[in-house]
Symmetry: C2
Subunit: 160 residues, 2 copies
């Protein structure tokens, strides 16, 4: 439970892949855009190509990727990898995230009076949002290791 979908997983992987490609392109000629076809990415991660294609289209529609059709076309990051957050990716693919079913778009609980739990949970929701918003695609490259630290531990305490 509380897991994100495989699509979101795939999306993050693809973004990471493109970020790496953009990085190498940066060190190549000016015509190397770092664009890769959906098929390439799918093969690199053994993801069903058609599915990945749809995900990338979604991401492009959300403005996180730029697409270029035709021969030698493909996708590339629309912005720097440091400016794309995991939150944006997840929201683009899985839609707005609400930890509890109570919280709708309007912030109103359908069980008007009786659902007294939603307010505290909304805080949790916001925290997770902030957490994910703080994680950029750029943070996903590099073999991790030295990045945890601040992420675990007593991040929060509710005062009563």
């Amino acid at each position: 439970m509380l897991r994100l979908t495989k699509k979101a997983d795939y999306g993050l992987m693809a973004l990471k892949y493109l970020a790496e490609q953009a990085f190498v392109a940066e060190h190549a000629g000016p015509n190397a855009t770092g664009a890769r076809s959906a098929k390439d990415i799918a093969e690199a991660y053994h993801i069903p190509p058609q599915l990945l294609a749809k995900i990338l289209q979604t991401l492009a529609r959300a403005g996180l990727l730029v697409s270029h059709a035709g021969t030698n076309g493909g996708y590339a990051l629309a912005r720097s990898a440091a400016n794309i957050s995991a939150f944006e990716v997840i929201r683009a693919i899985d839609g707005p995230l609400f930890i509890t079913s109570c919280i709708t778009i309007h912030g109103t609980c359908d069980l008007a009076g009786h659902c007294t739990i939603k307010e505290p949970l909304r805080k949790v929701n916001d925290s997770i949002t902030d957490l994910l918003a703080g994680i950029k695609i750029a943070d996903l490259i590099e073999p991790t290791d030295h990045l945890p630290a601040a992420m675990a531990g007593g991040l929060v305490s509710i005062e009563r």
Copy 2:
């Protein structure tokens, strides 16, 4: 997406309700245990009674509630409301939470080599776990308002 199930919602509501009852029981005679039947709780929140019953059974099996059969039976908190975390409730009902499909019980990614995303996400996972573990049932009572503060904001930053 990234939402918890209705069952977990219901479970939290029920726990909160029992916490409140335990509180009033505390101020009553020694024989007032604060135990309430599943039906009572279900009616208070307009939850399908049978469904709530199953949830409460799960919670009892997990050791968060104590049950007492027979006339005037019902459920009561097994511990103080300040010692039961939202995380325990959610895990008891929805099972262990793993934010990404990659992370299995064994911590191994089924896509051995190619899934390079899982390590950073595991940190996120841990953060959310900690976040939920820090929220106690006792924090859910009281008409909220003055409790947010620390929960929103720059909780985390990944160093690179």
